[in-house]
Amino acid sequence: MIAQGGSPAANEAPPTEQVDLRREFNEVGIGEVLDQLDRELIGLKPVKTRIREIASLLLIERIRKRMHLTSEIPTLHMSFTGNPGTGKTTVALRIAGILHRLGFVRRGQVVSVTRDELVGQYIGHTAPKTKEILKKAMGGVLFIDEAYYLHRPDNERDYGQEAIEILLQVMESQREDLVVILAGYGDRMEKFFASNPGFRSRIAHHIDFPDYSDGELLSIAELMLHDMNYKFSPEARSAFVRYIELRKTQPLFSNARSIRNALDRMRLRQANRLVADLDRVLTADDIMSLEASDVLASRVFIKGVIE
């Protein structure tokens, strides 16, 4: 007689013996979400690679669970670090979608908060406030933007510490109910983790968001315009390439967010230009295109000349 391989969970529901990985992959439909991520988010290579890895891990984890090879729920808390406007919030929304499809969160909603919503103003105000938010986020993802504001090292009696303690406790004890994603600028998050080692050890995935290159920013601008049914004229496009170069050297540059704001201002100028000449007959093309003059009127160019 040949000894059979030991089966650890013989008396439970029969474990699945073999799995068709492709079918499994298609069934949960994360391929779709990942493709969408590739299509709609420009650049961010390291982030996308990391998300793919996490998605694969979770898919395998799901199958392992069916085969009775694991019962532990993987730690899914994450931290996103990167400069402003690098797409941290957008990615958090997508992550929630992926986790929901794979069944690691039950509802898939994202509750996005900052310090104000978690920390109270007087003694005894913080705990109910934090719990309220946690309750709303249960079964989904809690996204804490600029998480380092929770900790104020200069003030011993700051109520932020209370919120941190409640968060840590729930992150540990209700891992199956809630995924917490912390986000913020790299260096300040580093300091935050250094002073709250409990957070670092409870977070499994640290993802760093790189800045966009000039080319990526241009593609982002064109994608945004396309979504709003606008387009650059060829001259406007080359003017905008110069705009990006100049804008990047100026202070308070926040990647895609700056681009969006710039586009909003250009739309304003375009509208103003069109309205200035009331006797003209406009075609759809006129309404849709942004001209070089709309771009070049920006403050950025004036400053560029002066400097």
Partner: protein, 141 residues
């Protein structure tokens, strides 16, 4: 005597799993779930004390269960019930309520007969537990 009020009270006590499923049903309908407690279970006592605020805008029952467990820690020796409030137009009232926690000993009620004019009798029900002051009615002291 086992107090039977609200839904499911003739069934064995609900497990946490079952409570969570019921709460999820309420949340799915868009009702706000409340946790209430009392140590005066008289059937005409409608106004139980609330544990925290009504929980609006929740998506998942785990949050409610978290509060329930907190409440049990403090008032585990009293009656605790869940109620679900429907705020939609035309309803604006409770749609469901069920007991989720009860004291170990339930002494029950006595019936008092008042003889009034013309050999008439008026009846009053009184909870034995209420003879003791609030806070010490079930178990404690």
């Amino acid at each position: 005597m086992r107090v039977t009020q609200g839904c499911f009270s003739f069934l064995p006590d609900l497990t946490d799993e079952q409570i969570s499923r019921q709460v999820q049903y309420c949340l799915g309908k868009g009702w706000a779930v409340n946790i209430e407690f009392t140590d005066d279970p008289h059937p005409r006592n409608n106004l139980w004390e609330m544990w925290g605020l009504p929980m609006f805008d929740l998506r998942d029952a785990a949050g409610v269960l978290m509060e329930l467990n907190e409440c049990r820690k403090v008032y585990g020796d009293r009656y605790i019930r869940m109620s679900a409030f429907d705020s939609s137009h035309g309803w604006e009232s409770l749609r469901l309520s069920f007991i989720v926690n009860r004291p170990k000993e339930e002494p029950g009620f006595r019936l008092e007969r008042h003889e009034v004019a013309g050999r008439n009798i008026q009846y009053t029900t009184k909870c034995y537990a209420v003879d003791r002051p609030e806070g010490g009615r079930y178990g404690a002291q």
